[in-house]
Symmetry: C2
Subunit: 207 residues, 2 copies
DNA sequence: CACATATTTAATAATGCTATTAAATAAATT
DNA sequence: AATTTATTTAATAGCATTATTAAATATGTG
C-alpha cells in the first residue's frame, strides 16, 4: 500500500475506474462508487475528469489501443517465417486477454452503446492497420508462392484468430460455472486452449 | 396495426420490453421507456409484471430457451447421418441468430450481472442437455467406428459451432461499420459466412 | 511570510428511475 | 341494474445518480 501513497489521486481514480468499468461496464459503474473505492470525495472524480463519460473515454481508448496493439504490433520481429509470426501474434493476443479478460465484452458493449465511437477510433488509427496488413500480406504472399502456406485470405485469418481467442475468454466465466471449474482447472483449461487455438490456426493454413 | 389492437396491453408491454431489452440491455432500458413505446402509463408495466427485474426474467428465460432449443432440439429427425445432423443444427442455430442477433450479447451480459441465474437455468434444463448429448454421442461413436467421422470430442465440436455462429453476429455491427457495408452487402456476407462456418466444421470432422 | 494556485470536501440542484398507492374507468358477473 | 373485479391513470415517495458551486485545506512560489 506504500506504493499507493506515492500515486496522485488523479492516477488512483483512473485505476479504480478502470477496474470498475471493466468489471461492470459503463452504466453500472457510478462516480460515487469510484470515489468510494479510492477513498475520496465524489466531486474529485469530476474535478479531474469533468464527466463520467470523459473519464470512461480516457480508459476506453487506452484499453482499446492495448487490445489493438496486442494483435498489430508484432511486426517488429522482422525476419520470422509467417507461421512463427502468427504464433507470436496469437500468444501476444492471448497474453493481453489473460490480463484483460473482460475487455472484449466492454468493447462490444460500448461500441453498441455509442456507434459513433467507431469512427473516432478509425480516425485515431489512421492507415496503421492497412500498413501492418500490407506488410504481413507481402510476407504471406511470398510464402504462398514458395508453397509454405496454403492460399488464404489474411483478413479471414485475422477474424478467425481474434474470434477464437476472444470467445474463449468471453464464455469462460459461463463454462467455469456450468462445469464447476476451480481456479487450477481453469488455468489448466486456458493453457490447453491457448495451444489448441494456435494449433488449429497453424493447421488450417498448411498447404 | 389492427392486429395490435386485438392484443392485450400485457402482451404489448411484453413485446415492447423484448425489443428494448435486446437492443439496449437491462440497465439501459427503463420501465418508463417501455410504457412510452407501448403508449400506456408507466405504472401499468408494474401492474402486470410487478418489477422490471421480473419482467426481464420472463423475457430472458423465454429467449434463452429459444437459443438453447435452436441447438438442442434437432434430434427429432432421427435417422440422419451425423454430418447431416450437424448441418441441420448449424442452420437452425444460424436462423435463430439471424432473428435474434443481439441475444448472445444479452445472455453474456446478464449472466455476468447475475451469475446466480446460471444455476436457475441449469435447474430448469435438468438432465435434458445430457440426454441430447448422450443420444448424439451414440450416433457419433457409431460413425467414428464406421470410419465416416474423425475421432472428435462432441463438447469441443459444440463449443466450436456455437462460437463460430455467435461471434459472427456479435461482431457484425462492428465489421459493418468498419468496412462500411450496406444492407445488401451485409446479407450477402451473412449468407456466405453461414456456408463457410458449416463447411469449416464439416471439413474439420472428416476422417 | 504573503500570496497564488492546486487539491479536496460538503452541500446541493437537477434529473431520472422504480415502485407504490389511491382513485378513475372499463369489463364482467350476478 | 347493482356489484364485484380488472384495467388504467395520476400523483408521488424514495432513492441514486451526475454535475456544479462555494468553501476549506494543502501546496507551491516569489
Amino acid at each position: 500500500m506504500d506504493a499507493q501513497k506515492d500515486k496522485s489521486m488523479e492516477q488512483l481514480i483512473l485505476e479504480a475506474a478502470e477496474v470498475l468499468f471493466l468489471e461492470k461496464g459503463f452504466s453500472l459503474t457510478s462516480t460515487t462508487e469510484i470515489a468510494k473505492t479510492v477513498g475520496c470525495n465524489q466531486a474529485l472524480v469530476h474535478y479531474y475528469y469533468r464527466t463520467k463519460e470523459h473519464l470512461f473515454n480516457v480508459i476506453f481508448e487506452q484499453k482499446f489501443m492495448q487490445f489493438f496493439q496486442s494483435v498489430f504490433d508484432n511486426n517488429s520481429l522482422l525476419d520470422l517465417a509467417f507461421e512463427d509470426k502468427i504464433k507470436l501474434i496469437m500468444n501476444s493476443h492471448f497474453d493481453m486477454l489473460q490480463i484483460n479478460p473482460r475487455l472484449p465484452q466492454l468493447i462490444i458493449n460500448e461500441l453498441a452503446r455509442q456507434p459513433e465511437r467507431i469512427d473516432r477510433l478509425k480516425e485515431k488509427l489512421r492507415s496503421y492497420p492497412e500498413k501492418v496488413f500490407a506488410e504481413l500480406n507481402q510476407n504471406l504472399q511470398t510464402e504462398i508462392l514458395e508453397g509454405k502456406v496454403r492460399n488464404i485470405n489474411l483478413l479471414d485469418l485475422f477474424i478467425t484468430i481474434v474470434t477464437l481467442n476472444v470467445s474463449l475468454f468471453m464464455y469462460l466465466p459461463l463454462m467455469q460455472q456450468i462445469f464447476g471449474l476451480n481456479e487450477d482447472q481453469k488455468s489448466e483449461f486456458l493453457a490447453h486452449r491457448r495451444i489448441e487455438n494456435i494449433d488449429f490456426v497453424l493447421n488450417s493454413i498448411r498447404p
